[in-house]
């Protein structure tokens, strides 16, 4: 039996666009967009390659408050060019994070929330996109001295490439079942490793290894939440209230490397092996 009342009352976060997601997380009336689409700061590179640009280059930067705390949100629009980051969109995120750190040095405790739906760098903008992503990484590390940076991967694009490193650098990471998180996307791995090893069309297989539930069970993300606006907002708010984690995951690299060194790479890796590797064997 389908509970139609529950279905009708459910507000999906995954189905929202980047701007709507940012608005849904912020306190009512506090949303203020920086470099809004009417300023038309667009990619200068796409048009020359015959690709239609978007007025905000697929990145929404908004300031506001969440449960009264000052926050800046950077939301990536996954529907535009696969959420890929080019020169402009990347600079918008890096700039927003750098200004948040600047705020903190001036005594304003701005926190950051990253809504990540991205395949990583925009190949049409090559090195400019990569450089921007490196700026984002540096800015996350800088801001984390003062206040938490919360990453949200809701789906359905997921978070890959250089931006998966940005996700790994976040103070906290929140995912839904729809999310995927990985350095290389499924098609890239299939191309490199062969279809026998990694079939990118096998959705249950892909999600069993890189999906939100698996990433949570492996201790690589901090919260696993249903695709529901209110629940995601509550959890993000809780993480912001917690302040900085005692030790950010990015500073536990040694521990992760030690675990990886003990991995036997001969046989095909099963999802349960990864969970055991990172969390220890559980009965």
């Amino acid at each position: 039996m389908t509970d139609s009342a529950a279905l009708l009352n459910k507000h999906s976060f995954v189905e929202l666009g980047a701007r709507q997601r940012a608005k849904a997380l912020l306190d009512a009336g506090s949303f203020r967009e920086l470099l809004d689409p009417f300023q038309r700061v667009m990619s200068p590179w796409l048009e020359r390659q015959g690709v239609v640009p978007q007025a905000d280059d697929g990145v929404v930067i908004a300031k506001g408050s969440l449960d009264g705390l000052p926050v800046v949100i950077a939301a990536i629009e996954g529907a535009f060019q696969g959420g890929s980051l080019g020169e402009v969109g990347g600079a918008k995120i890096a700039g927003a994070l750098e200004l948040a750190a600047e705020d903190n040095r001036k005594g304003i405790a701005t926190r950051a929330i990253l809504l990540l739906e991205t395949g990583g760098v925009r190949l049409q903008e090559a090195n400019l996109g990569l450089a921007a992503i490196a700026d984002i990484h540096a800015a996350i590390v800088d801001l984390q001295q003062y206040q938490p940076v919360v990453g949200v991967v809701a789906g359905s694009v997921g978070c890959f490439g250089g931006m998966s490193i940005a996700a790994g650098l976040c103070s906290y990471l929140l995912v839904t079942q729809e999310a995927r998180l990985g350095l290389n996307g499924p098609q890239v791995i299939e191309q490199e490793a062969g279809i026998e090893e990694y079939d990118s069309r096998d959705r249950p297989f892909i999600w069993s290894l890189t999906g939100g539930e698996q990433r949570f069970a492996s201790g690589l993300v901090d919260r696993y939440v249903a695709d529901d606006v209110a629940q995601i907002r509550d959890q993000v708010g809780e993480l912001l209230q917690q302040g900085l984690p005692p030790q950010p995951r990015s500073q536990r690299a040694e521990w992760f490397l030690q675990r990886l060194a003990g991995l036997e790479t001969g046989p095909q890796i099963e999802p349960s092996m990864v969970r055991d590797l990172y969390q220890g064997e559980r009965s």
Partner: protein, 99 residues
């Protein structure tokens, strides 16, 4: 990719502006701002080449027998069908109404 321009007679400019849609597959982004009184200008960037006549007919049919507000409209189209274009434009016109 093609860039197209259209112009239609119009009334007075609206007060608000609006953004609807997204440059995603089969969709389009429409930015509507107040224009100069008497003129409705539309700029279209579309991924579909050779579609000028289709856009011309679509707009002509929409504004036929009406005097639209004087707007400056920018469209970034990623292969939207005429039906989707019309829905997005109507959504945008509704939104400039309430500010």
């Amino acid at each position: 990719m093609e860039t197209l321009s259209f112009e239609f007679p119009a009334g007075q400019p609206p007060r608000g502006r609006a953004l609807v849609g997204c440059v995603g597959s089969g969709d389009l982004e429409v930015l509507i701002e107040p224009g100069l009184a008497g003129r409705l200008t539309i700029n279209v960037q579309t991924s579909v080449n050779g579609s000028e006549q289709r856009w011309q007919h679509l707009f002509a049919r929409m504004f036929d027998g009406t005097t639209p507000p004087a707007m400056s409209i920018d469209i970034h189209d990623f292969g939207a069908t005429p039906g989707v274009v019309r829905l997005r434009l109507e959504q945008g016109f509704e939104e400039i109404g309430h500010d």
